[in-house]
Amino acid sequence: MQNRRSNRDGRQRPQSEIKSALRSLQETHAANLRHKASDEELLKFYEQMLLIRRFEERAGQLYGLGLIGGFCHLYIGQEAVAVGLQSALTPGKDSVITGYRDHGHMLAYGIDPKVIMAELTGRAAGISRGKGGSMHMFSVDHKFYGGHGIVGAQVPLGAGLAFSHKYNEDGGVCMAYFGDGAANQGQVYEAFNMAALWSLPIVFVVENNGYAMGTAVKRGSAETDFYRRGTAFRIPGMNVNGMDVLEVRAAAEVALAHVRSGAGPVLMELHTYRYRGHSMSDPAKYRSREEVQDMRENHDPIEAAKAELVKRGVSEERMKDIDKQIRSKVAEAADFAENSPEPELPELYTDVLVETY
């Protein structure tokens, strides 16, 4: 890979030029803050967000019933991020990778809720045949690459996926999601460095939901403006409201245009909020109920989209219909996940290696 930097010989670019390049995407975004969605498009976003919300609620319920085990990290509250960003991507062409809070990203990429739920319940019909669980799910067909349980690991892996897009010249972009907590992992900056050095087609997405387990951002991060953390690598940053699906979508377009032009990575910070505990078992003592209630009542991305649709004159009927459809889709997924059989015991030994030696 050729180095992009013209200053390999040590010449300095003027500071002002660098600064404005780093800010330019934010300015483009500010000039056109919200995506001009048609009614149909907004309905589609609403539907996808609602699917994630209802799916996750049901997953929480199945967990309570003992049907889901281990860790189960719900995406409730963060729906606008995955839906807004991934609506600008093409499954099967652009790759997506994230951490363990991955159900929403899969649903937003059009992966069948039945096989996701069946993975959560550890069944043979699950997307990983019951051998991955909530944190380890993949769909190579969609180019959804997981589903990773080690905080931050998905960031260099994502840079590797971006490397393969560039190497194959397939026009694809990788979107690599990670949390505000993961943003403090050293390997993230190793990946930033190489992604910028080699102009890899990748959008780094920090989903800043305010907390890493029980650690509030300001207790764990010296620089709490995560979008600025690419500056040292000359990666332009974007600071985005992650609770408005149309703002998220508009920002995604700006970032993707930059990346697809061959100009290298972009770092987006999406401000969002997790309503539920970190996983199912959570002490819930590190934040106040009022704080959570305020986010739910005044900043909910789904309620906001609903209100906007109503204001646009979309009929109550239509909304109710969507609601009903999603309920039955989720009920169907839950039934499937509850009633499909567990993996056969010989599955214990399959897929350790691909080949036989």
Binding site: M1, Q2, R53, E57, R58, G60, Q61, L62, G64, L65, G66, S95, I97, S128, R129, K131, G132, M137, F138, Y145, G146, H148, I150, A153, V155, P156, L157, A159, G160, L161, F163, S164, H165, Y167, N168, Q187, A191, N193, L197, G277, M280, S281, D282, P283, A284, R296, K324, V330, A331, A334, E338, L345, P346, D351, V352, L353, V354, E355, T356, Y357
Partner: protein, 448 residues
């Protein structure tokens, strides 16, 4: 129609908890997502949310009640008639643990022997270094997805010159110098393999790969299994491993046992040039992640190498380097040279040793070891590395479990001394295995 709300479990092990607080009262209208109650255990608190809408009918367990069993009906929500019945799952009976079932472990198919070298094939002398380079170059010519990345692999021609000439032939797109950032580029290599490429990631030495071991194990080795066979990671991590010379403790360690411990990895540690070439080519073609352990002290040694268009050897097959009937010496990597040296010395004293080069550490070729043990009834393992939890320990265990009836003497391990490797020449020499120590051990098992 009413929906029964049951006491949820906050974790798979929770059996009961405290219903700390009701946030709704009878007659309240709730919708999906509203918090109904707070449940507590000694470890955690959970807000219990409504999943359906309706009017809170009866509250059956008062707030503050302790010891509420998971699954107890705590309230009833009157539905609005629109709720799909199946949307209110009932607690499934917790099934009694099934009796322990003996699962048949799959039996490995007999492993392929090395392909026969056709009569009349020209044998040339080659260093291990050249053999490795040629393996990479041939595979890069054969498959456009193969590329090489690592520190100093391109411009500098490799810190140990193993990648010499590759940049010139394949250009900077396929021969890539990385910054000194092992965790990061191991992750990029693993990610590129998930994305369909065939990366060969060079570590300047495996000592530095400890910073990358998370990606080697968690990202590369476990992915195929965790994805139910859907997502592969055909990456090769290669570089020198084991003690070099006078570089001190941090630069001198054998990681063979570390990686050989991990299901999902293939681990190869060749000794001579022919195996280095044939197995590296096989490693690059493999659909599995491979850790390929070389040895700096062996790079410059010359061996016979058959001049073939495509010299590929089977992974997972040990090689009998020297036949003998009195005792078996099992080794791998640099230890093989020492074992052969010891065998020569022993032959002079009338002891015929069979020397086995494992070549692949995972999957391990038990059959070849046990067949040799059945013949010689005595076995010594020689390993340039620490003794505790070593490959030598593993082979000893295999002999106990599967070869006990054939043993005429205890299996002995000849390993490095159990200390960090010292710098001083005399101490270093004292710490690392040599042929003389192998000879002593062999004589002990032969009662001589």
């Amino acid at each position: 129609m009413g929906i029964e709300l049951r006491m949820p479990a906050l974790s798979p092990t929770m059996e009961e908890g405290t219903l700390a607080k009701w946030l709704v009262k009878e007659g309240d209208e709730v919708k999906s997502g509203d918090i109904l109650a707070e449940i507590e255990t000694d470890k955690a608190t959970m807000e219990f949310e409504a999943v359906d809408e309706g009017i809170v009918g009866k509250i059956l367990v008062a707030e503050g009640t302790e010891g509420v069993k998971v699954g107890t009906v705590i309230a009833v929500i009157g539905g609005d008639g629109e709720v799909t019945p199946s949307s209110a799952p009932v607690l499934t009976e917790v099934q009694a643990a099934p009796p322990a079932i003996a699962i048949e472990r799959p039996v490995a198919a007999p492993r392929a022997a090395d392909p026969a070298v056709p009569a009349g094939t020209n044998m040339k002398m080659s260093t291990v270094r050249e053999a490795l380079r040629d393996a990479m170059a041939e595979e890069m010519r054969r498959d456009g997805r193969v590329f090489v990345m690592g520190e100093e692999v391109a411009d500098y021609q490799g810190a140990y010159k193993v990648t010499q000439g590759l940049l010139e032939e394949f250009g900077p797109k396929r021969v890539i110098d990385t910054p000194i950032t092992e965790y990061g580029f191991a992750g990029i290599g693993a990610g590129a393999a998930m994305g369909g490429l065939r990366p060969v990631v060079e570590f300047m030495t495996f000592n530095f790969a400890m910073q990358a071991i998370d990606h080697i194990i968690n990202s590369a080795a476990k992915t195929n299994y965790m994805s139910g066979g859907q997502m592969r990671c055909p990456v090769v991590f290669r570089g020198p491993n084991g003690a070099a010379s006078r570089v001190g403790a941090q630069h001198s360690q054998n990681y063979g046992p570390w990686y050989a411990n991990v299901p999902g990895l293939v681990v190869i540690a060749p000794y001579d040039a022919s195996d280095a070439k044939g197995l590296l080519k096989a490693a690059i073609r493999s659909d599995d992640p491979v850790v390929f352990l070389e040895n700096e002290l062996v790079y410059g040694r010359s061996f016979e190498l058959p001049e073939l268009d495509d010299h590929v050897l089977p992974i997972g097959k040990a090689r009998i380097m020297r036949e003998g009937s009195d005792v078996t010496i099992v080794s791998y990597s640099i230890g093989v040279g020492l074992a052969l040296e010891a065998a020569d010395a022993l032959a002079a004293e009338g002891i015929e040793a069979e020397v086995i080069d494992l070549r692949t550490l995972r999957p391990l070729d038990k059959e070849t070891i046990l067949a040799s043990l059945a013949k010689t009834n005595r076995l010594v393992v020689a390993e340039e590395g620490w003794p505790q939890c070593s490959i030598a320990s593993e082979i000893t265990a295999i002999c106990m479990e599967d070869g006990f009836d054939h043993l005429d003497a205890p299996v002995l391990r000849v390993c490095n001394e159990d200390v960090p490797l010292p710098y001083a020449a005399n101490l270093e020499k004292a710490a690392v295995i040599d042929a003389a120590r192998i000879v002593v051990a062999v004589k002990r098992v032969c009662h001589r």
